[in-house]
Symmetry: C2
Subunit: 351 residues, 2 copies
Amino acid sequence: MGAIKNTQIVLANRPVADIDPKTTFKFQQVSLSDELGPNEILVKVLFISLDPAMRGWMRDVRSYIRPVRIDEVMRSADVAQVIKSNNPDYKVGDLVRATCGWQEYAVLKPSEDLVKIQSFPGVSPSTYLGVLGLTGLTAYFGLFEVGEIEKKGGPNCTVVVSGAAGATGSVAAQIAKHVFGCRVIGIAGSDDKCEYLVKELGLDVALNYKSKTFFKELTAATPKLIDIFFDNTGGDILDGCLRRIAFKGRIIVCGAISTYNEAVPKGPAYYSALITQRARMEGFIVFDYAEKYGKATADMSKWIKEGKLKSRETVIQGIENTPDALVRLFKGDNTGKMLVKVAEEESKSKL
Amino acid sequence: MGAIKNTQIVLANRPVADIDPKTTFKFQQVSLSDELGPNEILVKVLFISLDPAMRGWMRDVRSYIRPVRIDEVMRSADVAQVIKSNNPDYKVGDLVRATCGWQEYAVLKPSEDLVKIQSFPGVSPSTYLGVLGLTGLTAYFGLFEVGEIEKKGGPNCTVVVSGAAGATGSVAAQIAKHVFGCRVIGIAGSDDKCEYLVKELGLDVALNYKSKTFFKELTAATPKLIDIFFDNTGGDILDGCLRRIAFKGRIIVCGAISTYNEAVPKGPAYYSALITQRARMEGFIVFDYAEKYGKATADMSKWIKEGKLKSRETVIQGIENTPDALVRLFKGDNTGKMLVKVAEEESKSKL
């Protein structure tokens, strides 16, 4: 029994535009009692997931989840390890996925949000924040539920994915390509990422949106227009894809990372293409499909085993670098899932 | 046998932004032979329909219909009267709805586009360009097919209609209110129009978007947020409604008249509300539902008889004023359907 020194990062100021790692967040050291109430567990955070959605959680606006409060620990999904347990379902050494936030330790009660996971050879527990976590499920439900890819997919279906080298985009692009056999064009922000998309992930075409001739290239790459656009970025890329949208095309509005740091974002000027092409633009939140997580995770695990789904991670070391890592996520420095590694998993025998 | 002097208005220059009645169009007098080929009819145009969509037809871009060519008679739907016939299905004196364009006379062959209509007491033939024409059908299919009002409608459903005093908006608002019993808020551009919406059409609330406190008023008028937004205007009104969109709300993108004259329109900055509210924005074109016109027209006629659907027209006299009338449509000078009256219907005995 005693107290643990716990480093936390709290939201200090709501950013108006860009996040400033120095003023937006504040570090604090608190003392966390390891005395547990009934069914509680004490966990040590191993990985923090960094997600574009975090920018929305910092805004004080009506959304799908309440804003993070000022002086509250910044919210995040994490992979953590049980180091003390007052709950027979969780043993010391077990790995869990939970919303611990940006801190080193947390005391958790059972909730929908606390899920036991397994580490096995070749699969890092961090995968449960990426392909096998909400990130992967987001790609899955966007394509299936909003894009209706089961109805529209196939070799005659052109799918464009923005943020295609990112955590969600890379999963969406691979499902469209390797599970449904669509013609898939990935959009990313560097030539290296584009090479990764074509050579490693097997997409048909990858386009660097920073190229001066990007819109020409997009036009050339979509001779039969765009049936499904899985959009993670918004901004000019969304506008360009609206100009190429096909009759009855679908725009899956998954994210709009290019606009999240703008006080008043620039909207899609060519949205009236929705009228002329009878197209649909629809947003979604992965949480709405919780009932179907089981089937989705089984499908995804199968596709990983079959080699249809590959993934990369960009791992930043040390909790002290978390604010910077978030800024780098918005700059597009990551390929695949952006994570902060806070601590090493320990073998059960050592705990 | 002989030739008729026919005044035509042709597209002279594609406008980049605003239409200039003096340079965008050109008047010409042509001589039209009244010798008819097999099954042809000669008609005299009585009414020209003016529609926001016309701005799109002047653009040289990929759309649902080919652009009007330079030096081609400007396209429009018209009500016309048969004055000579070589077709047993059409007698002299019959009224038709057809795409004659901006001219006094036309020779027509049977086509999908040529429809015989009836004039009866209390119903002007111009109604077939408004409530009983494509305008009314546009409101109908927007609500039914895109808005799924049969599933969502009822007293707990809040519907907002922009351009609510316009031809399509007024029909959409009345169907939502008097057929489905929704709470209906109409948005229009003058206090007179707002009075008309509440006192004559029976809407719950009408808001003048030119009011300085419009967004406050919109917020107050939608305490349960907006389940269905039938949008004819786009622009800031669309942005305001996105900020008030309800969970799983529907935005029926019917038109974007506020943006049609802009070279590069301002897109909806708050479209990312589609994500947080899992909302859908979808466009449509009435032509896609041609198979269902019969049922729709029967429903609409019934609602007119039951007093559920009222309509007004803004009628400009004289073909020479057609370009001006179109400019006035974009200024919002009309209440209800905007028409140009070209000629009087003549009694069959006189023809």
